[in-house]
C-alpha cells in the first residue's frame, strides 16, 4: 500500500518539476537540440539540477540493504557496453529529435489534453512492446 502511495506522490513531484522546467514543451526541447540555430541550453540546467539533487543522496543510500519501506534496493547490474545500449540510445535520440518529446514529458503533457500527445504515446507503447516481443 505504502509503495503505491509513494509512487503516486513521486510522480506528482516529478511532473511538477517537468512542467516548471519547461521540458513538457516540445519546441523548448528542440531548441536544445538545435545547436546551430537559436540554441537554448535550458535542458542542461534541468538535467544538471536533477543530477546535483540526486547524486549525493544516491551515494549516501546505495549501500543500505533495504529501502525506508523495507524493499530491496534495486540497482541495474553492471553491464558491458554492448550493441543494444548503443543502437537503442542512438534510435531513441532520432525519435527525440523528430518530435521533441521523451517518455517523461510525453506522459506529463497529457495534462495539456492535446490529442497529438495520445498519438505519440500510442506509438511509443507500440515501440516498447515491439522491442519486448522481438528482442530478448
Amino acid at each position: 500500500m505504502n509503495d503505491k502511495i509513494i509512487s503516486l506522490i513521486s510522480g506528482v513531484i516529478f511532473g511538477i518539476g517537468l512542467v516548471i522546467s519547461g521540458m513538457t514543451n516540445p519546441e523548448k526541447v528542440l531548441g536544445f537540440l538545435s545547436i546551430t540555430h537559436n540554441w537554448d541550453a535550458s535542458l542542461i540546467f534541468v538535467m544538471g539540477g536533477a543530477i546535483l539533487a540526486f547524486a549525493p543522496f544516491f551515494f549516501l543510500l546505495k549501500n543500505k540493504e533495504v529501502s525506508a519501506l523495507g524493499a530491496k534496493i534495486e540497482l541495474p547490474e553492471k553491464q558491458n557496453i554492448d550493441n543494444k545500449l548503443l543502437i537503442g540510445s542512438a534510435l531513441f535520440g532520432v525519435g527525440w529529435g523528430l518530435v521533441g518529446l521523451c517518455p517523461g514529458p510525453a506522459i506529463a503533457a497529457l495534462a495539456t489534453f492535446d490529442p497529438i500527445v495520445i498519438v505519440f504515446l500510442v506509438s511509443m507503447a507500440a515501440g516498447v512492446l515491439a522491442k519486448k516481443n522481438i528482442i530478448k
Binding site: 509512487s7 506522490i9 513521486s10 510522480g11 506528482v12 513531484i13 516529478f14 511532473g15 518539476g17 517537468l18 512542467v19 516548471i20 519547461g22 514543451n25 523548448k28 531548441g31 538545435s34 545547436i35 546551430t36 540555430h37 537554448d40 541550453a41 535550458s42 535542458l43 540546467f45 544538471g48 539540477g49 536533477a50 539533487a53 540526486f54 547524486a55 544516491f58 519501506l69 541495474p76 553491464q79 545500449l85 548503443l86 540510445s89 531513441f92 535520440g93 532520432v94 525519435g95 527525440w96 523528430l98 518530435v99 518529446l101 521523451c102 517518455p103 517523461g104 510525453a106 506522459i107 503533457a109 495534462a111 497529438i116 498519438v119 507500440a126 515501440g127 516498447v128 512492446l129 522491442k131
Partner: protein, 143 residues
C-alpha cells in the same frame, strides 16, 4: 525557438531530482520513466504502483496549472505532422527499451550514479537528437 530560461530550468530540475531521491529512498527503485512505462503496460508485479507514478506525472502539471497558476495554460507547441509524430514515438519507445533507459533513467539516475554506460548512452542520444534536428532544419521542416 525559445529563450534561454536557466532559473526555471534549474528549479524544475532540482524538483525532479528530489522526486527521484524520494522514490529511491522509499521504494529502493530508480525512477527511469521508460522502464516505469514498460511495467505499466506489461503484466508485472509493479504494474499498479508504476501506473500510479505515471498518473502522478499528469496530476503534477494539472495541480500547478489549475491551482497555483490558474490563468496560464501549459506551454505546449508542436509543429510536426503525424508523419513525424508516429515514427518518432515508435523510435522513442523502441530505442529507450533497447538501450535500457531514457533521459531520466540514463540521463539523471545513471549519470547521478556515475555509470559509464549511462554517460555513453546520454551522449549518444543527445548527439543523434542534434543530428536529427539539424537534418530536418536543412530539409526545411523546422525553422
Amino acid at each position: 525557438m525559445h529563450n534561454f530560461t536557466p532559473v526555471s530550468a534549474l528549479i524544475g530540475g532540482v524538483i525532479i531530482g528530489l522526486s527521484v531521491v524520494l522514490y529511491f529512498y522509499t521504494t529502493g527503485r530508480l525512477a527511469g520513466i521508460s522502464g516505469i512505462f514498460e511495467n505499466a503496460i506489461s503484466n508485472t508485479s509493479l504494474r499498479l504502483s508504476n501506473t500510479l507514478f505515471l498518473i502522478g506525472l499528469v496530476i503534477g502539471p494539472l495541480l500547478i496549472y489549475n491551482i497555483i497558476l490558474p490563468n496560464n495554460p501549459i506551454a505546449f507547441e508542436i509543429t510536426n505532422s503525424y508523419l513525424l509524430i508516429i515514427p518518432g514515438g515508435f523510435l522513442v519507445g523502441f530505442g529507450t527499451r533497447l538501450g535500457g533507459g531514457c533521459t531520466s533513467g540514463h540521463g539523471i539516475c545513471g549519470i547521478g550514479r556515475l555509470s559509464v554506460n549511462s554517460m555513453i548512452a546520454t551522449a549518444l542520444f543527445v548527439a543523434t537528437g542534434i543530428i536529427t534536428v539539424f537534418v530536418l532544419q536543412q530539409l526545411g521542416v523546422y525553422l
